[in-house]
Symmetry: C2
């Protein structure tokens, strides 16, 4: 047998195992509620649109060129105007294979080995993994209930300046932050823009959860407040329609877009999703999201009630005001790396806090729970099981679910 292990590149560090299915209690990944995937409306949308537009799929870029299906880019611009206050021309939109490809493209366009960027101190693990893979260092900016703290951001900018370094960008998820769930208020968004201007640094705004604010009321995007083309923006339909559709988008001004496009070396993202969404969205999106938010709010309530019931005062969390994640803090005696391993062996999967934070060692007593995909019943059962496992491993919760409560 040829030994490929002897000729791997420096980038080939990972070693994945074959997929063996999902555990029964699966509180990880940005998956969503399966019954909410609008299969009927998508099925209704798709037949006619394939009959009408399908022949154009004979060309890589259909009739729209390398940035993706123009009618969908038009619709996205209208939605961004209406929902996020943004003024964007379709020529500034690139359709991507999910927002993760958008993130990879921005990184590839701007980052060199040895660069530094600023990120929220608790973050999407993939953000940090991607930066690690590029040899880019990052400074974690502390968060509070309103998102990234501006005093901490200013300190970091000032510290780097003193070192003669300049961050390539400030990465932020201002609207339903991942994993903490905060929504940054308007005033703080303006402050961030002012700081970015003062230190002449661009902002990379990830607005992937922005449609999932439970109240339906969100502040304008930072991009909407920017009059200097300083903000690169990405969004997605993964969290509102279906993650497996893999339709995300990147918003960037020209000529930056002209530098990004040559780095999208896959000759385009899937067109079928694009033409189906262009048909589906105008008639269905707002109603669909309204139903989705109802469902997510209920799941968030179930999760919080279950944590209260089975862990009581031994966990801390902030009740979600949007999104699909809960950021949970245990007493320091709980090591969620170990909890992850033991629980997974018993069919309960969680995200250990160390992977979702810049200062991983300081956050070993935290975890992220994703409540988008499991049913209410599965959430209750899974939390009960997790409480029992946690009690057996760490004596937390002090009165476990399998011990009779007074």
């Amino acid at each position: 047998m040829f030994e490929f292990s002897t000729i791997l590149s420096a980038a080939a560090k990972g070693d994945a195992k074959p997929f063996s299915g999902y555990p029964p209690f699966h509180f990880v990944g940005g998956n969503i509620d399966e019954p909410t995937v609008p299969t009927e409306a998508l099925a209704d949308a798709v037949g006619d649109v394939i009959r009408n537009l399908g022949h154009a799929m004979g060309k890589y870029g259909m009739d729209s060129g390398p940035q993706g299906h123009l009618p969908l880019r038009d619709i996205i611009c209208k939605q961004l105007k209406r929902r996020a206050g943004m003024s964007v021309d379709p020529s500034e939109v690139l359709l991507t294979t999910g927002s993760l490809q958008a993130m990879d493209l921005v990184n590839k366009t701007l980052l060199n080995n040895g660069d530094v960027v600023l990120v929220e101190a608790a973050n999407y693990a993939g953000t940090l993994t991607k930066l690690d893979a590029l040899g880019v260092s990052y400074v974690g900016i502390e968060l509070d209930n309103d998102g990234m703290r501006m005093d901490a951001l200013e300190q970091a900018l000032s510290d780097l300046t003193a070192q003669g370094r300049k961050p390539k960008y400030i990465f932020t998820i201002p609207t339903v932050q991942n994993p903490t769930g905060s929504v940054m208020p308007l005033e703080r968004r303006l402050e961030m823009l002012a700081l970015a201007k003062r230190y002449d640094v661009p902002i990379f705004e990830d607005d992937c959860y922005a449609d999932l604010v439970f109240s339906g009321d969100r502040p304008p995007a930072i991009h909407a407040l920017d009059d200097e083309h300083r903000v690169i923006y990405c969004g997605t339909f993964s969290k509102t329609i279906a993650p497996a559709l893999r339709v995300g988008y990147l918003v960037a001004p020209w000529p930056l877009m002209g530098h990004i496009l040559p780095l999208k070396t896959d000759a385009g993202s899937g067109a079928l999703e694009q033409i189906v969404l262009a048909e589906f969205l105008p008639r269905n999106f707002d109603n669909h999201v309204e139903g989705l938010l109802h469902m997510l709010r209920e799941k968030a309530n179930t999760l919080c009630a279950s944590l209260d019931e089975y862990f009581g005062a031994d966990v801390e969390y902030r009740k979600p005001i949007g999104g699909i994640y809960l950021w949970v803090t245990f007493p320091k005696s709980v090591d969620t790396n170990r909890l992850y391993t033991v629980a997974l062996g018993q069919g309960v999967e969680i995200n250990p806090g160390a992977l979702w934070t810049v200062e991983g060692a300081d956050n070993k007593h935290r975890m992220r729970l994703c409540f988008g995909h499991p049913t209410n019943e599965n959430i209750r059962e899974g939390v009960a099981k997790l409480a029992q496992i946690c009690f057996e491993e760490f004596g937390v919760p002090v009165r476990s679910g399998n011990v009779e409560r007074e």
Copy 2:
């Protein structure tokens, strides 16, 4: 305005312009005949399959995990067995955003800056661009009517060995080579495997055009003849169903697959295409390809007849036995870089030979013409126009189409 040009990465070398539509005579790109895109059958396939399977799209990997929709991987394995003689398990198949993503993944997994690989001397321009971007050098192996020449391959392997270098892989498009259109006979495939074994080098087999052999009769894939897991293989449905669908696949043995998967950082390729193809293929693929080949053979005939009519003995080409490309040689006085620029200004787009060869300067009198997308009528008109432009610029053809023939 923020000046992104001041903070670009070393990789951001390109500078694309906004898409401004296709020229009227568009003989470039691997686009296919629009009327052959099977819109009715796809539309029929898609409604029910979304109703039945759509909810699973609530998970990034549906029920199949990160390698893509398992039923489609099953079908691909059956097709590869039947059409290419390959024995592949679905766990060795990764669904990708077109075969270009497969190529990027193989490169990322195996290649470091400074490495060397072997490629066919005339090649897909993207192969060379991707290698250039990675800082990987390549040795071009001469081709004849049966594809890569084995004496030249052996010489290159021996030369590199003498220099103490070992190529990371031999890249080949053995079945309907791009751009020359050759099909490598069985005996030569076995020779290539023997050389690869002797020099202990893997083979990267790109079989993207393999379903387009006009006779319907193709030799087994090199992968099928390999008993040492030495061959990495990619294929696509871009050329048989529709390029805009972006469904390609990579075949690689474990544990190599385990090193590739972590580098696919987009959380999956579009699922809708995957579930639709899984529904469409078993009932339709063979019939569909038969009709497609009929159409392509007719277009190849039209293109050859048009070249004969308008260029006469002033161009050389080999009549296609498959595929969608024609590789055309002019007298040395014709510079296709200049022809490209002048013709594009008049609405005729061609691929200049310099970009499609390792020794570009030696191939400035060649060009690639793509006949998959234009209609027969468009081919005739476009070739007539090209002949007139070429005559005006270079005096070739000696008796141009706009000069009365005797």
